[in-house]
């Protein structure tokens, strides 16, 4: 369009708090900034824009990261004209003019354009003086009913329809009265309701309107500071979801008040980066209720457009890559249902009733366990679509799922299109398909094992339990005991016992109680493997040894007999100092009075660097970032 006009004066109006206006502005500068924030993914860049309204420019405009791709695809560039659809003001230090405009939604109206006008930077004084009440008082956090005099709420300065955010008033002495939390509609600013997906730790004033989609029962814990209790819940609105936790006093105050399925206004809680291990919500942040937090129930009818639940489904095959004891959201069709079973817990001698269902999606299947009453009432005969939110992943025989206290199970959920997709797929082809089952490990070699370091293997007591543990390590062979790499084995098919060389051409096997004229060479390699953390002796037999050394036991044995040292050395050295993935079986064995763990190598595979890199990135993303 030829005459694309910019909305003059819009920048100052935004800074003053009039954020409903949808102004047209021009981009006069783009600068990527290093994001040293709580961003756990570590890869979100932030762009800072300098915008012009034709008359003035303002350089502190932060682009919401979901729009980064506009810049990366060169749609949004210098001189582009954009329309601001959603913006908020963030006052870092209003009195010194340090404010930022947070651009949450924009539309690129013209990608390529010439510079319009000759705008000059907004003077600092305009920004500082952009509100009438220049000697604003220290803010009080809420409006206690017992407050002295009728001071209007001084933390909110109204200008036009919108209120300006204030300095962080969490630091101020809190005169708040907890009773005000339950009533006092004048405390929650319903005009400032924002979407959950725009919440971040830098916002000073926000209110969300959310439904409690899930609430976990109160848990007690003990840490260095003494005993404590907590509960957590998931808050959902149409933009997304976020996990919120209340500790101790907040737990007491809010746990009974928040009911699952109900919608509440919530304001003033702390935000920090999400701990991905326990949090399957797709929000980057999680919320902690603090003693300033105000919660107010929505009136009937006000919460109608808030969805019931937010799912972050992963495919069933992806569960193989997740660690045991973590949680996930998953959806699938019930292919089969077992009868009710009763098991007795070895630990507590208590009886539990359960039922297993086979859950399938287009690429894989997995076994999921329901417990108690939920199991008894479950009827899978119609092959319903079942969605689980925050179901626990177990590693029995591969991967299994188990419903826990905080799991939500929904039959044929309407909130997701996956339900219809799966229904159609199953009815047409899925019910006849034979899919890879994550809950059937088959041979030991197929078992997806967790990766650990060699020091974790020891400190976590892997192998100390009743049954053997399986673990994978990325390590290098540092020592091979070459003299004992092969042994003379009984030539009898199934017997693998070592035979005694009678030195007269015959070989005696004590187990078979026979003397033979021959023997077979067999591998039993004692090797030390090392990784960045520690070292460990392991034993490598048969096929794995052959894979490692590249020659059969027979060939190796012959070289040994012929005393071809140099050939043996060459074979050995090729196996050493190469990084490999060792899948180990760890089993505790009694040696006289000692209980030692013996490590046997189940398989050796070459490094697959790309998948190893992805695994590392995944683990890094799950760790809580260092707080600066």
């Amino acid at each position: 369009m030829a005459s694309q006009r910019l909305t003059t004066g819009a920048l100052l109006r935004y800074i003053r708090g009039n954020t409903t206006e949808k102004a047209n502005l021009q981009v006069v500068g783009i600068k990527p900034i290093e994001s040293k924030t709580d961003d756990p993914s570590g890869s979100a860049k932030r762009y800072r824009l300098m915008l012009s309204d034709g008359k003035s420019t303002f350089s502190s405009c932060m682009l919401g990261t979901q729009m980064n791709k506009l810049i990366e695809t060169n749609t949004l560039k210098e001189n582009s004209i954009i329309r601001i659809d959603r913006v908020m003001v963030n006052s870092i230090d209003k009195q010194n003019g340090r404010v930022m405009l947070m651009l949450y939604e924009i539309e690129v109206v013209e990608s390529d354009f010439e510079r319009i006008g000759d705008p000059i930077a907004l003077p600092l004084t305009d920004i500082i003086n952009s509100e009438p009440n220049t000697n604003r008082l220290e803010a009080t956090t809420n409006n206690p009913p017992a407050a002295p005099a009728a001071a209007p709420v001084t933390n909110v300065i109204r200008q036009g329809a919108k209120a300006l955010p204030t300095l962080d008033d969490r630091k101020k002495p809190n005169g708040g009265n907890r009773a005000a939390a339950a009533k006092g509609t004048n405390v929650i600013d319903k005009e400032r309701v924002i979407n959950i997906d725009t919440l971040n730790p830098y916002m000073n004033k926000w209110t969300i309107k959310a439904r409690i989609s899930n609430k976990c029962p109160i848990r007690t814990y003990e840490n260095a500071r003494g005993p404590g209790k907590l509960f957590s819940c998931d808050l959902v609105d149409k933009s997304g979801e976020i996990r919120a936790t209340g500790f101790n006093a907040e737990c007491d105050r809010l746990y009974s008040m928040l009911e699952i399925g109900e919608v509440y206004y919530i304001t003033k809680a702390s935000l920090k980066a999400a701990n991905r291990q326990y949090n399957t919500t797709n929000s980057d942040y999680e919320m902690t209720f603090n003693h300033d937090t105000i919660v107010e129930a929505c009136d009937v009818g006000e919460g109608e457009n808030i969805p019931q639940v937010q799912y972050n489904f992963i495919s069933i095959s992806e569960i193989a890559n997740r660690a045991a004891n973590s949680v996930c959201d998953v959806i699938g069709v019930v292919k089969s249902t077992s009868d009710m079973q009763t098991i007795v817990s070895k630990a507590s001698q208590k009886e539990f009733s359960k039922r297993d269902i086979l859950l399938v999606d287009e690429k894989a299947s997995i076994s999921a366990t329901l417990w108690g009453q939920q199991a008894e009432e479950f009827d899978g005969s119609s092959h319903p679509v079942i969605a689980f939110k925050a179901i626990k992943i177990g590693d029995f025989n591969g991967r299994t799922l188990s419903v826990s206290n905080s799991t939500l199970m929904r039959q044929d959920p309407t909130e997701t299109e996956r339900t219809v997709e799966l229904r159609v797929w199953f009815d047409n082809e899925g019910k006849l398909m034979d899919l890879p089952d994550l809950s059937k490990a088959g041979e030991a070699g197929n078992r997806p094992t967790v990766m650990k370091t060699l020091s974790q293997v020891i400190t976590e007591g892997i192998g100390l339990g009743d049954k053997p543990d399986y673990v994978s390590v990325k390590a290098v062979i540092t020592i091979i005991k070459k003299d004992t790499a092969v042994y003379m084995m009984c030539p009898e098919g199934k017997c693998s016992k070592k035979v005694v060389d009678e030195n007269n051409g015959t070989y005696r096997c004590e187990k078979c109680n026979k003397t033979y004229n021959s023997f077979k060479w067999a591998y039993m390699i004692s090797a030390e493997i090392s990784d960045t953390a520690s070292a460990q002796w392991i034993t490598i037999f048969r096929n794995e040894a052959e894979t490692l050394l590249g020659v059969s036991a027979e060939e190796f044995g012959n070289h040994k007999l012929n005393q071809s040292e140099s050939i043996v050395d060459e074979i050995i050295s090729k196996a050493m100092n190469r990084e490999l993935i060792f899948k180990l079986r760890a089993k505790a064995e009694q040696y006289n009075d000692e209980r030692k763990i013996r490590f046997t190598c189940v398989s050796i595979t070459e490094m697959d660097w790309p998948s190893h890199g992805r695994r590392l990135l995944n683990e890094i993303n799950q760790m809580e970032p260092v707080q600066n």
């Binding site: 290093e34 040293k36 570590g42 990366e72 660097w609 790309p610 890199g613 992805r614 990135l617």
Partner: protein
């Protein structure tokens, strides 16, 4: 040999004057052979200048060691090329994430050995 900071295209400005290592795909080799257009791991296009002719193929992945000049270009000291088998499985996006990690946690990724 001085340490080279591993960077991507967007970081050029930050590392102006410093010795850097950039991995990317050759998008174009200028006829003179001294100038290469490189698409970096974060899909930026940068210019690499060399005093000698560089024998690389368009589409191949290379590592450039050099310095960032004040025009946001790389003056390269050396170019490392790879066999096709070596780069067949190379995940450029993951390399980019690694580069960003190095920047986020400089205390955890040693550069000076």
């Amino acid at each position: 040999m001085s340490h080279h900071y591993r960077i991507n295209g967007s970081m050029l400005q930050q590392f102006s004057g410093k010795p850097v290592s950039i991995i990317g795909t050759v998008s174009k080799v200028h006829p003179t052979g001294n100038v290469i257009d490189l698409e970096t791991s974060d899909k930026q296009h940068i210019v690499v200048r060399s005093t000698e002719r560089v024998a690389v193929d368009a589409g191949s992945i290379i590592e450039v060691l050099g310095n960032v000049d004040n025009r946001n270009q790389i003056i390269c000291d050396s170019v490392i090329t790879f066999e096709p088998e070596q780069t067949a499985n190379f995940d450029m996006d993951m390399y980019n994430q690694a580069v960003l990690l190095f920047q986020h946690y400089p205390q955890d990724y040693l550069v000076n050995l």
